[in-house]
């Protein structure tokens, strides 16, 4: 604020004011509804999730394998060329221990979230997911993890068909 200005507009409302109904509020529920077309790339990705597999798209120009897949390469600005299956294992790029939910309310038990770089995709190709079956204090950047899938009959073609990632146990 400029020192030339001596008064500042605005009136604060406190939680007590609201409790005492000192000011009026109009309460409305805004409920927009959508049925988004997933499109070519993500429809295939979701269908493969249902089969318990991860798939990417390859761009022949920059030779990157993109996960999640897309029908165009944003670097080369051209259509991508082919579908490539990738492993359901990966490396933790970064992680966090979340104590709050979507609406900022505290969760009963904290949730481990991570960006997982998927094996066989190009370096840096991560997806957002959660981690489990591991103590938060044991998670590290660079840790190898693997997808834990829902049983086939429960899978719906959604990102949640992967329940979470857990520490890699294979060879």
């Amino acid at each position: 604020m400029s020192q030339k200005i001596t008064s500042y507009p605005g009136h604060e409302i406190t939680p007590e004011d609201l409790k005492a109904s000192k000011y009026l509020e109009i309460i409305q529920k805004v409920e927009p509804k959508y049925s988004w077309a997933a499109g070519v790339a993500i429809s295939r990705f979701l269908n493969e999730l249902k089969e318990g597999r991860l798939i990417g798209r390859k761009c022949d120009q920059c030779e990157r394998i993109l996960v999640p897949p897309r029908m165009y390469c944003e670097r080369c600005y051209r259509p991508t060329d082919s579908w490539v299956y990738v492993k359901d294992t990966g490396t933790v790029n970064t992680y966090s221990i979340s104590h709050v939910g979507t609406d900022a309310r505290r969760l009963k038990s904290p949730l481990l979230v991570a960006v997982v770089e998927i094996d066989e995709a190009s370096p840096g190709m991560g997806i957002l997911h959660t981690l489990s079956e591991v103590e938060p204090s044991r998670v590290t950047i660079g840790m190898k993890v693997q997808a834990v899938w829902k049983p086939a009959e429960e899978r719906q073609g959604a990102i949640t068909d992967i329940r979470y990632f857990k520490p890699f146990e294979g060879v």
């Binding site: 604020m1 400029s2 409302i13 997933a38 944003e74 966090s96 104590h99 990102i159």
Partner: protein
């Protein structure tokens, strides 16, 4: 034919968790104050730009239309521009092109955010910024991407949480001298470290609050500015850049988009050595580590080296390059779009020597304001000179 553009007036409301005023009224208060400061009335204004972030906060579709009367846009060429959290610094950028293009001689730029209407919490609006198919089903919150980014930044450069906490201490301390501030306080690194974990490594005191508020500036062409004031502040450089949608495919340790935006603005302003030529920086600090991240993107610190600035005193208000002398979002508050504009207002007041108790010690002639937004994705930058 580019024309030089000046800021000739600025204004802002209090920033508070919840305000009595509606978004329209907040816009009006800030705009009126900026007009008064410039010695103008709405009649003198040829075009209007409004900046406001998601419609979801207010639950009003086409929020830009809803805000027209409060922002003084009736009967005028009016645009609402929007790049998420980057909007506040982007709003005067849009004003800049209104004037620099030669289309208009005066432009009123208002940035407003009323976050409190959304229940149960303003954070909920951020759920709908995530990919609706691949990310929202996981129960995302905005805090996740910040904490994921902070962790990656710390890991890559071996930075400690305590070093990052110095930024919160500095900015909340600076805000004590800001009459509009919501969370000015003298705190210690210990306080930050002991505050409740929200999304580790992010703790309560690492984060700026949700707020209501508005801020505004008046822009004028060189010809008009010179008639109206002896102390124009020149908006000599503007830049903005968006990175890819796929944030999980990106290097989270370094904001390349801020670098690109800064280089665009520096080139326009003829700045060759930013660290030497810039006297004051107001980088976006919704989280303490973000100030550091952004200082590196702005080329004001080497990669991984920004934490030293606060610790060694360089970025303190009496330092060689004060950073967030306003108190930043961490201290003044974070009504999204208005917060970025607050930074532009602060640079304006500092460069005119009107910042009172907040006035930096050094003789300042060049300042940079920067905001960030979207999915770790957008940088907006303005360079100002007295």
């Amino acid at each position: 034919m580019r024309r030089r553009v000046a800021i000739i007036g600025a204004g802002m409301t209090l920033f508070r968790r919840r305000m009595l005023e509606t978004g329209k009224e907040l816009s009006f208060e800030a705009a009126k104050m900026a007009l008064d400061a410039a010695g103008l009335t709405l009649k003198d204004i040829e075009s209007v730009v409004e900046g406001s972030a998601p419609d979801a906060f207010d639950g009003v579709h086409m929020k830009g239309e809803y805000l027209i009367d409060g922002s003084g846009g009736i009967g005028k060429p009016y645009q609402r521009v929007y790049v998420g959290g980057g909007t506040g610094v982007f709003t005067p950028v849009a004003g800049w092109w209104n004037v620099a293009s030669g289309l208009y001689d005066t432009c009123l730029c208002v940035a407003e955010e009323k976050m409190s209407p959304l229940h149960p919490h303003p954070q909920y609006a951020f759920w709908s910024i995530f990919d609706q198919i691949l990310e929202r089903p996981l129960g995302t919150t905005l805090l996740w991407i910040f904490s994921l980014e902070m962790r990656r930044y710390m890991h890559k450069y071996g930075i400690k949480e305590e070093e990052i906490a110095e930024v919160a201490v500095k900015n909340k301390g600076n805000a004590v001298d800001h009459p509009c501030a919501q969370l000015g306080a003298k705190i210690t690194v210990d306080d930050v470290m002991r505050s409740e974990p929200i999304c580790s490594p992010v703790k309560r005191l690492d984060v700026s609050p949700p707020s209501d508020g508005a801020a505004a500036v008046i822009l004028a062409s060189e010809k008009v500015a010179k008639k109206l004031t002896d102390q124009p502040v020149w908006l000599d450089g503007v830049g903005w850049t968006l990175d890819s949608t796929h944030w999980t495919n990106r290097d989270l340790a370094y904001p390349e988009y801020v670098e690109k935006a800064a280089k665009m603005a520096y080139k326009m302003a003829g700045i060759k050595n930013p660290r030497k030529e810039i006297d004051i920086a107001e980088p976006y600090d919704p989280f303490d580590y973000k100030e550091l991240h952004h200082l590196e993107g702005l080329q004001l610190a080497g990669k991984g080296e920004a934490p030293k600035l606060a610790i060694e005193g360089v970025s303190q208000r009496d330092g060689d390059m004060p950073v967030c002398p306003s108190g930043g979002l961490l201290g003044v508050g974070n009504p999204i779009a208005a917060a970025g504009m607050m930074k532009v207002c602060e640079c304006f007041w500092q460069l005119r020597g009107e910042a009172g108790k907040r006035q930096v010690k050094k003789d300042a002639h060049t300042a940079v304001a920067q905001a960030w937004g979207d999915l770790m994705q957008v940088g907006t930058v303005t360079v100002m000179r007295s």
